[in-house]
Symmetry: C2
Subunit: 530 residues, 2 copies
């Protein structure tokens, strides 16, 4: 474990710490409301321009360095994050109030993601390499030789998330996927954990230097003013934007990207209510167990997960009331938590107020505002399906440790609710064999609404692997075709290019007849591995 670089409160551009603006904000310890050293400045328009222009210039050499160098670079980033040791965890803990055990796990996930993407880069399946050999003798026209594979889109702006200071921030899943694809990254750190971001950003800068990669392939910018993000999203050198955060923040970026002279794709993960359908027989058999696991899922990380279950659909009746009573006891017994920052606290209180104002809504757990600048207490509300269907504010996420139970009179009402759901990251159906009717009828509707459908467990705790999909139809994300978790995430930052009648010596290695070992290719219609 090396002694980490002391924090200097400066952006990283071209591998160097810089700061032209006046320091204007600092991390706030959410438990005490106190500011931490050092102070940070909003990136200036000139700094944003420099970072993006350098990223564009670095795009070609960064990609040209090749897959093995890129894989080794990703592994170096992971090793350097680990080498930051306790200093990183302690700073992240101070900035977010997330427990050290959670942050230790999150660091493991972050480094695991980087190393997994290193393997993805080496494997080469993501290139989707294809060769259709030519035929000069074809009539009436000769057939040209065509070869194609994915190439990096170009510079990607990554917006760090507040709720995962490591796994969805500076060296998080979006950055790892963009680097794996061969794209430079300009990262805007989340202003709630600038110190954590600076430590990780420095690790990336050092890893680039270690592998003789262009320093312009990564920049870290700070900013508490929305202007920084808007200026960044508008920069002509960018080719894509990745964001994890609120619906309002994601929508603003989608609109900014559409206003550009050259529009670019935006992958915004904006959260969802992650409905959990508990069917009649299962509820009767297993209500107590489900109530316990649902309570744990709702309050995990003080409810600050994108996959937090904010909607529970139940068949009205005695079993549902028993279930709600158990769930209420569990939630009421959960100690008050500390939210990530004051903005989340005020958003949580505002949304609870909007729910309380809905006529007919029952507050089963609602102890009111917590103590502390960022304190939060769990909440449980219940409403009938007719009211839910007629009340759009109930369809939207409450970011925090709250959940809403919707009581349905019959299966038709469950199906009507399913059809009315907006897009989701996840939807869970818990049913027994005897719940067959809804177990048959719900999935065809719900698959159209979500990126992930669960038949057991709770939606929190997203696996990072090949098969995961963490994305879904609007408003869960801005582009249901993308995922921000798992190896498929690399596809967001790629586009195919075809080489026609190209001399072998000028082809990328992966498209020569004798391709590099192990890369799967589609050659004249057959899948082969050289």
């Amino acid at each position: 474990m090396t002694d980490p670089t002391p924090l200097v409160g400066r952006h990283r551009i071209d591998g160097r710490p810089v700061r032209a603006g006046t320091p204007s904000f600092a991390a706030i310890d959410p438990r005490h409301g106190t500011a931490m050293e050092p102070r940070f400045a909003d990136a200036t328009a000139h700094e944003i321009d420099a970072a993006c222009t350098l990223a564009e210039a670095a795009a070609q050499p960064f990609a040209a360095a090749g897959r093995e160098v890129r894989a080794a670079f990703l592994e170096s980033v992971a090793a350097r994050i680990e080498a930051l040791g306790d200093a990183l965890l302690q700073r992240a803990h101070a900035e977010t109030a997330l427990p050290l055990a959670r942050l230790t796990n999150e660091r493991g996930r972050t480094c695991g993601q980087l190393r997994r993407f290193a393997q993805v880069v080496r494997d080469g399946a993501w290139l989707d390499a294809r060769i259709d050999h030519g035929d000069p003798a074809r009539t009436p026209l000769p057939k040209p030789d065509l070869r194609s594979m994915n190439v990096p889109l170009g510079p990607v702006a990554v917006f760090g998330a507040s709720n995962f200071p490591l796994a969805f921030s500076v060296a998080g899943g979006d950055t790892a996927a963009a680097f794996a694809a061969g794209c430079p990254v300009v990262c805007k750190a989340h202003p709630a954990h600038p110190g954590t971001s600076e430590l990780v950003g420095h690790a990336i800068v050092e890893a680039l230097a270690e592998h003789d990669l262009p320093p312009g392939a990564f920049a870290l910018l700070f900013g508490a003013d929305h202007r920084v993000g808007q200026d960044l999203a508008a920069h002509r050198s960018l080719r894509a934007i990745a964001f994890t955060g609120s619906f309002a923040g994601g929508k603003a970026l989608v609109e900014a990207a559409a206003r550009r002279p050259t529009p670019i794709p935006v992958f915004a993960e904006m959260g969802s209510t992650n409905p959990v359908f508990v069917l009649q027989q299962r509820l009767a058999r297993d209500g107590a167990t489900i109530a316990k696991s649902l309570s744990a899922s709702v309050t995990l990380g003080v409810g600050q997960f994108c996959t937090n279950p904010g909607l529970v659909v139940l068949p009205r009746g005695a079993a549902a009331e028993d279930f709600l009573a158990m769930l209420a006891r569990e939630l009421a017994a959960t100690p008050e938590g500390t939210l990530l920052h004051a903005g989340i606290r005020s958003g949580y209180e505002r949304r609870l107020g909007e729910l309380r104002a809905v006529p007919g809504l029952r507050a089963l757990v609602d102890a009111g505002a917590a103590s502390g600048v960022c304190g939060a207490r769990s909440a449980l509300f219940a409403v009938d399906a007719r009211t839910w269907l007629a009340t759009p504010t109930l369809h939207e996420e409450v970011f925090g440790p709250a959940t809403l139970a919707v009581l349905c009179d019959d299966a038709a009402q469950v199906l009507a609710l399913a059809r009315a759901l907006p897009g989701q990251l996840s939807i869970t159906i818990l049913g027994d064999d005897a719940d067959r009717d809804l177990l048959d009828a719900l999935p065809p509707i719900l698959v159209q609404k979500t990126g992930r459908i669960l038949f057991a467990g709770m939606p929190t705790g997203v696996e990072v692997n090949d098969a995961i999909q963490h994305g879904g139809p609007w408003p869960a994300t801005s582009d249901a075709r993308g995922t921000s978790v798992g190896t498929r995430a690399i596809a967001r930052f790629l586009r195919p290019v075809a080489w026609q009648d190209c001399p072998a010596a000028r082809l990328p290695d992966e498209l020569r007849d004798a391709g590099p070992p192990g890369v799967p290719r589609l050659v004249d219609g057959r899948r082969v591995v050289s």
Copy 2:
């Protein structure tokens, strides 16, 4: 060959001919300017709503019919188009003035695309099926079973193109790719060839019925008013838009899609100048041959191809002047052609006027307006690179049989021009071994600008296969990640969904442990074919 259904000038909604609006337009024979029977009406707001709402309702049953039924349906569409026989070709010829030989080839391509997509559907690689088995014994948390694959996005609006009345229209590449993906299609026919569109649309309706597929899975709407396209693009039931046409038309759809409460992806193929770089030594050795093939490519289909070479980059000097003189002779000797419709004619004349107004531009072939309502004569202009770099109107497409030569003083100017190029569908580099410096330096720049890079031949004549890429960075298309030609085109209409801890009986066939034969899958990190 069966006798085709007579034209009735009606939309097709739910499998039936309907028309609520007042007939207001007809196909115009571009050779004579005369209207053809029958007359067609703009789709009403109610008709657009009905078509899209039915498409949404048909999405699930159409996808659930399965891959084999969908493949057989695509083959039926091809067979039914062929069965329309000469009546289809004659009508298309009358509506477009395209020669019968070309239309015969285009029909072959159209049916070939449909049959190729049938094979793609059966093959199943596009599903990108992945299985990560669970592990209940994993600590600290059990590992869930996760399985994912691509599912159809949902209803797609396809806007027919004027320049390919068969291959990019009602049953063209976009429709074939969307159907292959399992998406219903609402097609807006191009108003320049409504009769051709009605014949092909009827073939699709009959093929759906033949395979007991929901009639709502396809609708054909007519409209000469832009309002029809705008209303269609705004409909809440749509999940994607595919368009081939002008930059203005594509940009309007991109903006309409971004204004929706629920934004959706737009794949607009908007054309490009398809630059051809002819390097010094190659020009000296081979100028005459290149001049002939370039002239043929510029005038093919009266210059109405998306891949028409509208920009030729040459090293200034005697060889270039000889080349331009040969090219001018070839182009001047090309007979006057007939454009597809009066709108293209007026656009061509307007763009020629904009070019003529550029100071320093030399008109080498420019005989002025042709006779006939849609006549067009070839044109050749030349300009120095400095003027080109300073004159944005010269960077934009001229849709028609015209090309612009840009003369560069040195290699640095060639590279500056390359860097200034907007996004392209194709870029061609013609060089000899002795042109090594630019042959080394240009491709890394040009790959960032285009979807296809050619090292021989001309960009017109796009192959339809696995390796083709027909797309490119803005403004060539609205989304460089898509292609509208070749088997990769299916990817535009898919999104992944993950099933977590799903009982085997409720999984799609392709995700069960014993998968269907032949479908490649990624199982626990290994590529396998069951």
